[in-house]
Symmetry: C2
Subunit: 290 residues, 2 copies
């Protein structure tokens, strides 16, 4: 199986545990499926798999569980971010957002259930490797919870005084760092050399997100645009101007590539980062990000 | 330390990890504290501790982590249940509910962060006992997630056709079963003999909740009353009448006591159940529940 197939299969397996018993609350089950399938680029689980592969990937079941858990957390955060009290986004990935399709109550519960499922997926998938299970659980909670994870990042949006770097590192960077860390840990490797790669990618992703919010169309993006301006949130294009934001993106992508430790998987990782950089920036601006 | 002190200390320890670094988003940190302290009766962690004690409690650190995790999940569920899109409860435990005090966005994030913290607490507290850690993680995810946990219970409220027993078992019973199961597992014991006790207590608790919603005052309860009628939710008093509901409560409490397995801790557990039964029903109705 290639990476895409492994990720989709691992996510399907995680959700299936809940569905085969036939007594799920049906709307919750449908909403969870809607939140996870079809996915976006699956960049975080892709990174997780790539770094595990670069570390030998001796136990693919553990790696698959780690990759699925990271993506489930990402999906949970999107469902809650889209809620009326946050971004109030009616679309996501070109489809109705979960609360648009299933109502606000089911959307809150879907996020909750996906967070629980992420931890359950690690517990089940790494049960035969207790040390790796523990490491992955702590990576997951650090990447998602307070004080540094995506939940904390979202909470900084409710504060009057915000350190932009701390906010963006928590909101976007933390799950990228978790993805690369989990990839190394799932393979029994040392996650420390990979951390800088996760950090740079997280920063690059945040800048790209800011750029797309300003220059892309809702059709191309599959979700509302100009949200940062409407919601008064910091945006790299507003702060630096479009040219400087694009330059910053290029520079971060270059730094991410340079941060890949010397290993057999390095060319494959560089290729992954190049492809992702192209996907993240609308075509007419890609000359810079080539 | 007595049970109360152990529980409060374990919860304080769990929250402290997030607070000592000083860079928490301050409103999220305050809201999490508000959601957990001061607590209610802490009946679930009390049960967890009592059953671990009845099983010898060989490793109190693991037991404390399990008890704290169960209570953190309970607090998370209250925060999300109180949200405007669910119960829209402006008070809880006699104080403003989390969304009333901190706003809806922080309330959503507080619930999320407490769920993550519950898993993290198990991972950290049982790291030296990998088998127990795994058992506790699965107990926690089963008690909280879909298809049988409290999230699923809440989701049944969004369905047109509901089996009342399945709904109540998930919404209330699941975390009681998780509490007794976790108590046995934390002590390395067999959880199966304890399951019936958790189920009966969960049912009794649900009936008591229904009774109080009808007969208690908001002042005495510290939260809004008559919510089931307003929200069109099933309530044992509406279905059976008050007398029969009180009889059902008495019968469930008696069944819970009878379900305690033969063990050294049985008298202490019976005493705990008696005290809890008295606390759950307003004084003027306690003749029946004596």
């Amino acid at each position: 199986m290639n990476a895409t197939q492994r990720i989709e299969q691992a996510l399907a397996n995680a959700l299936e545990c809940w569905e085969t018993n036939g007594i799920d609350p049906p709307r919750l089950a449908a909403a969870m499926r809607h939140a996870v399938f079809p996915g976006g680029a699956r960049i975080r689980p892709r990174l997780c798999l790539a770094i595990a592969a670069a570390s030998g990937d001796p136990d693919p079941d553990v790696t698959d569980a780690a990759a699925a858990a990271i993506e489930l957390m990402h999906c949970a955060s999107l469902v809650h971010d889209d809620l009326p009290c946050f971004d109030n986004a009616r679309t996501r990935r070109g489809l109705p957002s979960v609360h648009t399709a299933f109502g606000e109550r089911i959307a809150v519960l879907t996020g909750d259930a996906l967070i629980v499922l992420a931890f359950e997926t690690i517990a089940k998938g790494a049960a035969h490797q207790p040390e790796r299970m523990l490491a992955l659980l702590l990576t997951l909670s650090r990447g998602v919870g307070a004080p540094h994870g995506i939940v904390a990042g979202q909470a900084w949006e409710c504060e009057p005084n915000v350190d932009l770097r701390v906010y963006q590192r928590a909101k976007t960077g933390s799950l990228f760092v978790a993805a690369v860390t989990a990839g190394a840990q799932a393979a029994g490797g040392n996650p420390i050399p990979w951390q800088a790669l996760g950090e740079r990618l997280g920063e690059a992703y945040q800048v790209a997100d800011d750029i797309r919010d300003v220059v892309a169309t809702a059709e191309a993006l599959g979700k509302p645009v100009h949200r940062d301006e409407e919601l008064g949130r910091p945006n790299a294009v507003d702060q630096l101007g479009l040219d400087a934001a694009l330059e910053r993106f290029d520079s971060l992508v270059a730094k991410a590539s340079a941060a890949i430790p010397r290993c057999a998987g390095a060319p494959m990782l560089r290729q992954l980062i190049r492809a992702e950089a192209q996907r993240l920036i609308p075509e007419e601006f890609q000359r810079r990000a080539a």
